[in-house]
């Protein structure tokens, strides 16, 4: 049934459908509405779950870690400083091979403090061993939560999934969302069947010290599983389509007019909606523009990216985060997809936009397209204000 919902409400409804037995979170803008909605559902008895109000994100992540280790499906959500604050636990959850879904309401990182959207938070934790899915709209946000649990809890995966949704733009945006039916969710996502758990009947030890004789293989195993995830995520997307009718293809990337394109923009998240509008506008005028949207940033679908872009003359990569002192994060991956390959675009130019919530308008996208020539651009910030760059501190 289609309903007009705020993004955060949609997340809460989706989480409710997944029936987590334990929910723990700590408030941070723009994640708050999600957990407030869930608290309300638990308070009203609509959702049978233990809602644990903790004193920090570090503890929120630790509580869900403990719950999953005890064999119960759990949920948490955070953003920005909260994600960094729980960063240690984020790595820990993946290292302990515990399945979990966490929503990241994407927001900029301090200093300076800024509550608005970019993707620096989740991108900064890209190496933690989580699957990271970036949603374009709130329908995807809902569907990715369902798929997230399905992927995460599969015995072949046992890795956590972070559903990344742009703060405010999606969390606070009102959209028509087709909420899945509980009955169908029950078929798609059976109750959590832990592979291992803390249970006095079968005592096991979890989280042991691994010395140099053993540590590396744990990382190798996660790497291999994430490689397998490139095959498994598409399988789950197909199951999802068969039950709910929505088709996310391989759910790793989305191609939008890329086949014959002369210029393709690569981006992630809600900005792709804006890019699609610009693509449509250009296509009407006969200009061969396309969009490659990355859905799964981890695992990164290098092979798919290679196949889609190898014959595209010019590629612009739009990042909503930076890796200060290096190329920007998405650009690094796109360039890497062509390293040592015979075919490659003439230019893979890197652009950063929308940091700290600065609007990315259709004009910003057109600016990128104008700048996308044969000459590769290393890294250019779009919509910078030159007047703000003049301030200097001493000589």
């Amino acid at each position: 049934m289609k309903e007009l919902l705020e993004g955060s409400r949609a997340v809460a409804e989706a989480v409710k459908l997944c029936k987590p037995g334990v929910i723990s979170a700590y408030p941070i803008t723009p994640q708050t509405h999600i957990v407030e909605e869930l608290a309300q559902m638990v308070a009203s008895g609509e959702l049978d779950s233990q809602f644990i109000n903790v004193e920090s994100e570090h503890s929120a992540a630790s509580v869900v870690l403990g719950a999953v280790a005890t064999g119960v499906r759990a949920f948490t959500a955070t953003s920005s400083q909260g994600l960094l604050y729980m960063g240690e636990v984020v790595f820990n959850i993946a290292g302990m091979r515990l399945p979990l879904v966490m929503t990241c309401a994407n927001r900029a990182i301090s200093a300076p403090i800024n509550i608005w959207n970019d993707q620096q938070d989740s991108i900064s934790l890209r190496d933690a061993g989580w699957i990271q899915l970036y949603a374009e709209n709130n329908q995807e946000v809902v569907d990715f939560h369902l798929m997230g649990y399905r992927i995460s809890e599969d015995k072949s995966m046992m890795l956590p999934v972070m559903v990344c949704m742009d703060g405010f733009i999606l969390t606070h945006g009102m959209e028509m969302v087709d909420m899945p039916e509980q009955e169908k969710v029950g078929i798609f996502l059976p109750p959590y069947q832990p592979l291992y758990k803390l249970d006095p009947a079968f005592p096991i030890s979890m989280g042991l010290l691994a010395d140099p004789d053993y540590y590396m293989e744990t990382r190798f195993a996660i790497k291999e599983t994430l490689k397998d995830a490139l095959q498994f995520i598409p399988k789950v997307a197909l199951e999802f389509k068969n039950i709910f009718g929505r088709d996310y293809k391989d759910c790793l990337v989305e191609e939008y007019h890329t086949k014959d394109a002369e210029k393709v923009i690569v981006a992630m998240g809600s900005v792709c909606g804006t890019i699609k509008e610009v693509v449509d506008e250009f296509r009407k005028k006969g200009k061969k523009i396309g969009l490659l949207r990355i859905i799964s940033f981890r695992p990164f679908p290098y092979q798919r990216v290679y196949e889609i872009l190898k014959d595209i003359p010019r590629v612009a990569v739009l990042d909503k985060s930076v890796s200060l002192g290096a190329y920007s994060p998405l650009a690094i991956e796109i360039k890497a997809a062509f390293a040592g390959k015979k075919k490659a675009p003439q230019a893979i130019s890197s652009f950063v936009a929308g940091l700290g919530g600065r609007d990315i308008t259709p004009e910003s996208i057109k600016d990128i397209l104008r700048k996308l020539t044969q000459k590769e651009i290393d890294l250019e910030f779009i919509d910078l204000k030159p007047e703000l760059l003049k301030e200097s501190y001493g000589d």
Partner: protein
Amino acid sequence: METDTLFKPGHTACAGCGQAIGAKLVIESAGPNTIVVNNTGCLEVFSAKYPESAWNVPWIHSLFENAAAVASGVEAALIYLGKKANTNVIAQGGDGSTADIGLQALSGMLERGHDILYVCYDNEAYMNTGVQRSGLTPFSSATTTSPVGAKSFGNIRPKKPMPEIALAHGIPYMATCSSAFMQDIQRKIKKALSIKGPKYIQMHVPCPLGWRHESELTLQVAKLAVETGLYPIVEYENGVLISKGEITPKPVEEYLKVQGRFKHLLTNPEAIKQIQDIADYNIQKYGLKKEG
């Protein structure tokens, strides 16, 4: 199940490790229907190094400072599963993980009212990383980060009043104990686990390496800490003092002189007096002195 197999021998604790004695007593007193959540620290390292584990109960280690929070999640999950009534949850860690970096997580756990017993093994420094000072390192104690020198007399602050901090959360049970008094430990663990809600127990556990005493003196050193009044043994139920370890106070020098960490004090009567003042204050405060 025999409870004496819950914490198996063969772990890699140092000879004379007070924490190893304490941890064994704790789990044996708690019994097999117990889930243990351990902070990072000596105990975690010497008892659970892959591919071996000394634990014969479900046991989990996540990070240095989050056992109280992980245990909260374990407890919440057990409630959800309807299994809390017959399962104990114990969170445990060293003094550093408890009183310093993990204080926030512990405070959250105590304040939220989880049915969890938290045990702090107080060896009075960060031992696992090589004897650095913690918030529970005693006044004037020499550690690797509070060394003695021309401008330093060891640790500059007295112990953080962790038992009182725990008590101030309004928890139903709080006790201190010492590895020298094993029956007292057993009794307190059992008692704590019979009470619903958050419980805090702090156990004094000598570390021969860090305190620089002979490893066969562990129990004697622990006993002296109690007998001098430097480690008051108290027990509170619902905020009321229900028992205390009464002593015929010995001079603190007897405790100080057997440990290298206090060696620099022995030639300095003024310094010893300062330590004696701490003991006297404790004796006075809790009324530890045996009558007659």
